[in-house]
Structure formats: structure tokens, C-alpha cells
């Protein structure tokens, strides 16, 4: 059951322990090779959640081979130096484990949930999969076919199509222009060697961290992780290149005519913000007031609640390491009425800002709902992964409510002025509509 062999010398550098500012049982340690270990003890149930995260995600893909990181993560479960894909699946299925792997633009991960009694086996498997994947040729071909099928399927769903088209317009030339899992044009170009190279370049301990939540003792976790990872050699990691945005002088619209559809799907926006920017929280509060909950935000009230024009209408800023997009979306049979209302709300926020009552409501929502987001083990795992990816610090969970409450109306309104660009949108519309019906004044049409 457990890894056998020589006894590893355990060398652990403890960076932080439970601090007075952080009453939650969160512990952050690191090994000399740079691997970070985050533990959150929760002994309610005899189970453990493990997420191994590499700080390189889709943004680290070669542009012409978008999807490499995703396929690399997918292949971690499909064979190692010592275990075949069948053996790995057989062990995990027999334990009743939950497992998955994946990628977003900022990181790649491998996730496992096991009963506490199977923790040692789970950690053995994680270590073997992230350190010694074999990327067997047959498995690679199969995984690539599966990922390609999903990428093709994305074109069958209107929401995905308008989102993908918008990304192509806004992030032209950058990796963000294509979906994080890659596209039908790039996935077929990826080779097994590309995955090996991606793994060698990015899966190094100083570019990775492991989060463990549940029925564990953090001191034992340090030992267990060290035993499996202490001899892993660090390596250099290439920095990412930030996107160079295209911000048009006036709104540009791409219309995709689809006579078979009975609604228009609309996705528009402009350059956004990085999750590391100083005004990120003020911007999130502003965006929440403008287009957060469809039943109570300004946009939701104007488009859905008062006019009945759509089921879902919203806007948001991407939350990524590099600057992402500001996006607004709606699906409606009356785009000629819904779009002007959304434009008007954005302009009003840009010109006049929010008011104190709206800010108070946003403060209360953010501070009240944040603890709910980590009441389950899976929620804790997600929050710890997020705070490590974006370098928020282990006191983030404890201090987040105070940070939110300290944000003033002036800061929120400054975020509106600095981050919103009314009248300078890129927009994609798909549906059975014509330019005449849309009646959009002062826009440039993209052929």
C-alpha cells in the first residue's frame, strides 16, 4: 500500500505556520527545492482532497499549438514509468476515488479525493503521475482525439461560439485568443514530444504547489510530501508574455447570421485587468454593481427585471494573471432593445459611478458570501489554490472581509472611470438578425 524502499531524509523549510492573524487551520510550508505545501485541516469526515498545481497553464502554450498544457494535464493519468493508464484507473476506481485533471490559462492541476485511509496511496500516485509521466503514444493519440472532439463540439453551442469569436478579436496574436483547451485548428498539430517538452519545462518543484484539505495532520503531511518530492530537482521557468490589446476608436461589430436560431447571442467588451492589479477588488465591486446578479444588478434590472428582454444578462472582468477582458453577455429575441440598455448602463457607471447604498450592498454581499465559498472541503481547496496562484497570502481568507470593507466609493468610481471604455467595444452577435434590425448607430461592421 505504501511506497517502499529507502528512508528519505526529511528536510523541510517551514515558511509559515498558523499565525495569530489567521485563526483558520491553514499551514504553508515549502521544501528546499521550492515546492510549496498548503494544508487545511478539517476532520469532519474521513476524507482528503489533494490538488497538485503547476503554475503554468494554457498561457504558457506555444501559440500555434494551443492546447498543449491541457493535453499534458490530461495525460498525467494515462501512464507513468511504473504504472499503465489502466493500472492507475484501476487503483483509483477500486478506491472509489474522485479524480480529474485540467488547465485554465493560469495553471494546470491534478485533483484527487480519497478516503483518509487511502491518503498514502493517493500521494504515491500523485507523485508518480506528476514526476514521471510517460505520455504513451497510443494514449496520446486517444487523448488528442477526445480533446479535439470537445473542441469541435464547442462550435455547436452559440454561447461558446460568440465567446470564442470575441477572444479572437480582442486577443489577436496572443495565446488568450484561443480557448484554454485549444482549438480545432491547433490541437491536431500537437505532438507527444510537445507534451514532453512542456512537462520538462514547467513541471519543476519551484513552479508547483500541492494543496491538501481534510482529515489530515499538517505535520504528517509535510513528512509525507517531503518523502515523495524532496529529491525533485528545480529548474528555470520561462516568463509569460502579456497580451497587446486592440482597443478600437469606436465599437466594431461582427455579425454571424444563423437563420436556424430563435435568439441572438451577444458577447461584447474590451481590455480588462489583471488579477494582480492594485484596484482589482474595487473593480470587482464595481462590476458586481453594474452587471453581477441578473436579478438585482443595474444591467439585470434594466434588461431582465423591468423589460423582460432576457433570462440572463451580466458583465464581468476576467480574473487572470495577465490582463484579461471586460465582457458583457446577453441572449435575446430583441437585441435592438437589449444592447442599447446595456450600453447605457455601462456609460452611466463610467460617467456617474455607483452610490453609497449600492456599495454597501456590494460590501455585504462579498463579505457575507465569501465564508460560504469555503465551507466545504472542495471550496477550501479552491480558495487555497487561488490564494497561492495569485500570491494573496495565507491570511487571505481571514482578511478578505476587512479588505473589502475598506474599499471606498471613490475607489470604486475610480475603477469605473479607469477600467470601463464605453463606446469602444468589440462585439460579436450571432442569430437570425440583420444589421438593419440591430439598428446600431456609430459602429463599424467587421466583414
Amino acid at each position: 500500500m505504501r511506497q517502499e524502499g529507502r528512508l528519505w531524509m526529511i528536510v523541510i523549510l517551514t515558511l509559515g505556520i498558523l499565525s495569530p492573524a489567521s485563526p483558520l487551520p491553514i499551514f504553508r510550508d515549502s521544501l528546499p527545492n521550492g515546492l510549496i505545501i498548503l494544508t487545511y485541516e478539517d476532520h469532519r469526515l474521513p476524507m482528503v482532497d489533494i490538488a497538485f498545481t503547476c503554475r503554468s497553464g494554457a498561457a504558457a502554450d506555444p501559440r500555434e499549438k494551443a492546447g498543449t498544457a491541457n493535453l499534458c494535464a490530461e495525460m498525467l493519468f494515462r501512464g507513468t514509468r511504473c504504472l499503465s493508464a489502466d493500472s492507475i484507473a484501476s487503483i483509483l476506481d477500486f478506491l472509489g476515488a474522485w479524480y480529474s485533471s485540467g488547465t485554465n490559462y493560469d495553471h494546470s492541476y491534478l485533483y484527487l479525493r480519497v478516503l483518509t485511509k487511502d491518503l498514502s496511496t493517493g500521494l504515491d500516485l500523485v507523485a508518480e503521475m506528476v514526476r514521471e509521466p510517460l505520455f504513451p503514444e497510443g494514449e496520446f493519440t486517444l487523448a488528442r482525439d477526445q480533446v479535439l472532439s470537445s473542441a469541435r463540439r464547442a462550435y455547436d453551442y452559440p454561447n461558446s461560439v460568440v465567446s470564442m469569436e470575441f477572444d479572437r478579436l480582442l486577443f489577436a496574436g496572443h495565446r488568450y485568443a484561443l480557448p484554454s483547451a485549444g482549438d480545432t485548428s491547433t490541437i491536431p498539430l500537437i505532438t507527444r514530444e510537445d507534451l514532453i517538452q512542456f512537462h520538462q519545462a514547467n513541471f519543476v518543484p519551484n513552479n508547483c504547489f500541492i494543496v491538501i484539505v481534510g482529515d489530515v495532520d499538517h505535520n504528517l503531511i509535510k513528512e509525507e510530501v517531503s518523502r515523495r518530492f524532496a529529491d525533485w530537482q528545480p529548474g528555470p521557468v520561462k516568463p509569460l508574455s502579456a497580451p497587446v490589446f486592440y482597443l478600437p476608436e469606436k465599437t466594431k461589430v461582427k455579425l454571424i447570421t444563423r437563420p436556424d436560431m430563435n435568439q441572438a447571442y451577444i458577447h461584447f467588451g474590451h481590455p480588462g485587468i489583471s488579477n494582480l492589479d492594485q484596484d482589482i477588488l474595487a473593480t470587482r465591486l464595481m462590476s458586481y454593481i453594474l452587471g453581477g446578479p441578473p436579478l438585482s444588478s443595474r444591467m439585470g434590472l434594466a434588461v431582465r427585471e423591468y423589460a423582460g428582454l432576457a433570462y440572463d444578462v451580466r458583465c464581468w472582468f476576467d480574473r487572470r494573471l495577465l490582463s484579461g477582458a471586460f465582457r458583457a453577455t446577453v441572449q435575446t429575441t430583441k437585441p435592438e432593445e437589449a444592447i442599447p440598455k446595456m450600453f447605457a448602463e455601462i456609460r452611466k457607471m463610467f460617467e456617474s459611478g455607483a452610490n453609497q447604498k449600492e456599495l454597501l450592498k456590494a460590501h455585504n454581499y462579498f463579505t457575507g458570501s465569501f465564508p460560504l465559498s469555503y465551507s466545504s472541503n472542495r471550496g477550501k481547496l479552491d480558495r487555497l489554490t487561488e490564494l497561492e496562484i495569485y500570491h494573496f497570502g495565507t491570511d487571505w481568507l481571514a482578511t478578505f472581509p476587512d479588505r473589502i470593507r475598506k474599499i471606498t466609493l471613490e475607489e470604486v468610481n475610480a475603477a469605473a472611470r479607469n477600467r470601463l471604455k464605453p463606446g469602444r467595444y468589440l462585439m460579436v452577435i450571432m442569430g437570425n438578425v440583420s444589421r438593419d434590425q440591430l439598428n446600431l448607430p456609430d459602429v463599424e461592421w467587421i466583414e
Partner: protein, 434 residues
């Protein structure tokens, strides 16, 4: 090197779920079930009504869902928008959802504020008013939601598939309703539905999280105790559906790049305790890489990229379903052939004990994992009570699965997973792709 010894595991379960549960009933018939989990200062309040698409006749399909929308609008003490404004202002998660057998509402919020959820839900239960002036805009919202379903290719397949599988049982109707019915909703129909189904005797209140029994009893009595209860008789269609007399097939053509196959077999409902064997068969066929159909269709033949198998039974006899994503439309006949061969083999040869053990281990682990989130456990308790008449049903279900034998699996497949009991739905690309 990992040396793993396979043993039947007896998980170190924490104390049984029953020890954390308390229940009581108000004089007006409101059934209340609590589940204590004090590990986080959070409470989940859930109200489920015994009404859903199961209760809807032609002309009314989707009306339970329409009522769910309207119930957020206006009561005699709250104005439109107040529900969300109030709950957002305390950082609560909240929503409503409509299903075949129930309509549910939930609020998850901090321990010191959960009483607020009771106050709002009591108002929803007895004090909704539906002014004409507020109906039309919400009617349009729901019509737009219905159109979203039209534009999702697999949803369109699903609707046709279920309408083909059931001739009479209301499971044939989509929860959101058929377009023509949605278009003809009136505020009078909404009022009628509310009067008929929303009252304490037709509801279950489930409270999970950091709330103690005495506190729950006092607060529930305070907000719900004075409401008037009327038992609601619910039509029972359990035995109404005539048996299939041979395969039924439906083909949908849409503008898609990737085809989909759905194969269904009618299986017993919850009144037949063998129905859980359908879950075991589904896992053997489709759960994970070692499952039989994944191996046959994805790994060995390479004809498909994805396989999912599940037994869709909530109450009445339902459908055992196999969904496959073929690599190409031309492979559909080959895929069907391989699936039917695999099913035939399963009807002839008993499954290996080890294969069965894998499934039992997965079920037991899932049972423990389901307690991680107080919303999940609330859903299990409420839906068990509504569909099987006992909140413990999900516990009995996993216990029954632990006792399933290879002979029972063989018998189940022989009786239900056969060609005369089959429905096939296929989604294929029409002429103009992308």
C-alpha cells in the same frame, strides 16, 4: 513503485448520518428535517414543494417553473426585487429550481443570519401576490429561457428522446414546458397553481449546517406555525405507462459538428427495491476507464470519444440511459452493434465479484463524499423524502447496493436491458455544418 493490495475496504465511517438528524412536524403539516454540521458557521435553508412537471397536463407544461419565477416577485410584505436585494445584502447564496417531482428553493447563509431565510420562505409559502402588471415581463424572461433550450442541440435531442420513451407518464414533458404552452401562460394559471400546491402540508423544510434542534424548532414555529395547511392529493402515474412493444427510434437533425447517440431502456421505479441494481449495471458499463463500454467503444474500437451511462430513476419507472459521442456519424451503426453485443454478454455471463466490488467501493466512497457540502446533504434528504417517502432512502439505497449479487445483476439485465424495451435517439448534423 506502488504496491497496492486490493482488499474490500470497510471505511472508517464517522458516526452514522442518523445521529445528526432530527425531525418534527408542525400542526399545519409542515415536515421539518434538520442535519447538524457545526464545522463551519453556515446554515442552509431548503423548502421543497411536492409539485413539478409531473403534475402538469398538456396546456400547463412548464407552469410549475413559471410559478417558481413569479414567486421571487411580490408578496404582501415584499416588493419585487426585495428577495434578492435582501439576500444579496447579507451575502447569501439563493436560488430556486424546478424538477419532475418537486420545486425547491434554498438559501445558504451565515449562522447568525439564517432566520432571515425562514422569514422570506414563509412569505413565499403563503403571501405571494401576482399582480397582472408584473406577469408579462417575467413571462417574456421565461420564454427567452425556453429559447435557450431550443438552441442547445443536446437539449433538443433529450426532449425528443424522453417524449418518445414515454407516451403517457409526465416524464415525457420537459420541466421548462413545451414552447406552445409557455407562450400561452397566463397570470390566472400561475395563481391557480400557487393556490393548489403551495402550503405547509405540501412542503418539506430541510435545514442543514450549524443550527441546533431547539433553535430550529423555535424559529420554524415562529415563522411557519401560523400558516394554514391543506393536504394536497397528487395524481399518481406510477403504473400508467404501457410497456414498450419493440424498439422506438427518433433522429434529430441540427446544425452540429459532433453527433450524439442516446440509448434508453425502461427500468423499475423506487417501489421495486431491485431498481438500485440499475445503478450497479450503469457503473459496470460506464463508470471510468475500466468500465465495459468505455473499454469497447473508446479504447478497443476507437469508434467513440466519450461514454456515459446512468440509471435515471427518481420515483416512477424511468430510463436506463447510455450516451455516446461517436467520432463520426458513419460509425453510429457500428457503435450500436458493439453496445448491444456487450449488453447481450452481460445478460448471459454473471459479472465478476471483483468488478462488482469496484462498484460497491465507489458507491460507499461517494456516500461519504456527499456529506462534504451541506447543500448536497440537504438535497439528498429532501429528494429522498419526496420521491420515496422517507428521507433515509438514500442511505437504504447505498446499503442495498452493498448487498447486490452477480445473480441479481444478471437477472436485472435479462429483464430490462433488452431490445424490445429500447428507445434510441440520435442527433446528427444536417446538411450545412458550421
Amino acid at each position: 513503485m506502488i504496491n497496492l493490495i486490493f482488499l474490500f475496504f470497510s471505511a472508517t465511517l464517522s458516526e452514522p448520518i442518523e445521529s445528526r438528524v432530527f425531525e418534527f412536524k408542525l400542526k399545519n403539516g409542515l415536515q421539518v428535517i434538520g442535519y447538524i454540521d457545526s464545522s463551519a458557521p453556515v446554515v442552509s435553508v431548503n423548502v421543497y414543494y411536492r409539485v413539478g412537471s409531473y403534475d402538469e397536463q398538456p396546456g400547463y407544461t412548464g407552469i410549475s417553473h413559471m410559478l417558481e419565477h413569479m414567486s421571487f416577485k411580490h408578496t404582501d410584505i415584499y416588493k419585487p426585487g426585495d428577495f434578492d436585494r435582501i439576500l444579496d445584502s447579507v451575502g447569501a447564496y439563493n436560488n430556486g429550481f424546478t424538477s419532475t417531482y418537486y420545486t425547491g428553493y434554498y438559501e445558504q447563509l451565515a449562522k447568525d443570519r439564517w432566520e432571515l431565510a425562514l422569514k422570506l420562505e414563509a412569505a413565499r409559502m403563503a403571501r405571494c401576490v401576482f399582480p397582472d402588471s408584473e406577469f408579462e415581463s417575467e413571462h417574456q424572461v421565461v420564454a427567452e429561457e425556453r429559447r435557450l433550450s431550443d438552441n442547445r442541440p443536446t437539449t433538443a435531442l433529450w426532449e425528443e428522446f424522453e417524449a418518445t420513451a414515454f407516451l403517457v407518464n409526465p416524464q415525457r414533458n420537459p420541466t421548462i414546458g413545451w414552447s406552445v404552452d409557455v407562450a400561452n401562460f397566463t397570470v390566472e394559471k400561475v395563481r391557480e397553481w400557487y393556490q393548489r400546491y403551495y402550503n405547509p402540508a405540501n412542503a418539506i423544510l430541510v435545514i442543514t449546517g450549524d443550527a441546533q434542534p431547539d433553535e430550529v424548532k423555535a424559529k420554524v414555529e415562529k415563522y411557519f406555525g401560523k400558516l394554514k395547511g391543506r393536504p394536497v392529493s397528487r395524481a399518481d402515474y406510477y403504473n400508467i405507462e404501457p410497456p414498450l412493444k419493440g424498439e422506438r427510434r427518433v433522429t434529430i437533425r441540427k446544425r452540429v459538428s459532433v453527433p450524439t447517440i442516446l440509448i434508453g431502456f425502461r427500468t423499475p421505479g423506487v417501489q421495486d427495491s431491485s431498481y438500485v441494481i440499475g445503478d450497479v449495471v450503469a457503473s459496470i458499463l460506464g463508470a471510468g476507464r475500466a468500465s465495459r463500454l468505455y473499454r469497447t467503444l473508446v479504447l478497443d474500437s476507437g469508434f467513440a470519444t466519450r461514454v456515459s451511462v446512468w440509471n435515471s430513476v427518481e420515483r416512477d419507472p424511468g430510463l436506463f440511459q447510455i450516451m455516446v459521442t461517436p467520432k463520426a456519424e458513419s460509425l453510429i451503426p457500428n457503435i450500436e452493434h458493439l453496445i448491444y453485443n456487450e449488453l447481450l454478454r452481460m445478460a448471459k455471463e454473471p459479472v465478476a465479484e471483483r468488478e462488482l466490488l469496484r462498484v460497491k467501493n465507489q458507491v460507499l466512497a461517494n456516500y461519504i463524499f456527499s456529506r462534504d457540502d451541506i447543500s448536497d446533504i440537504a438535497w439528498l434528504i429532501a429528494t429522498s423524502q419526496i420521491t420515496a417517502g422517507d428521507w433515509r432512502h438514500f442511505i437504504f439505497q447505498q446499503e442495498r447496493i452493498q448487498r447486490v449479487t452477480p445473480e441479481e445483476v444478471l437477472d436485472f439485465v435479462k429483464r430490462h436491458i433488452n431490445p424490445d424495451n429500447r428507445v434510441v435517439g440520435v442527433l446528427v448534423p444536417n446538411q450545412e455544418k458550421r
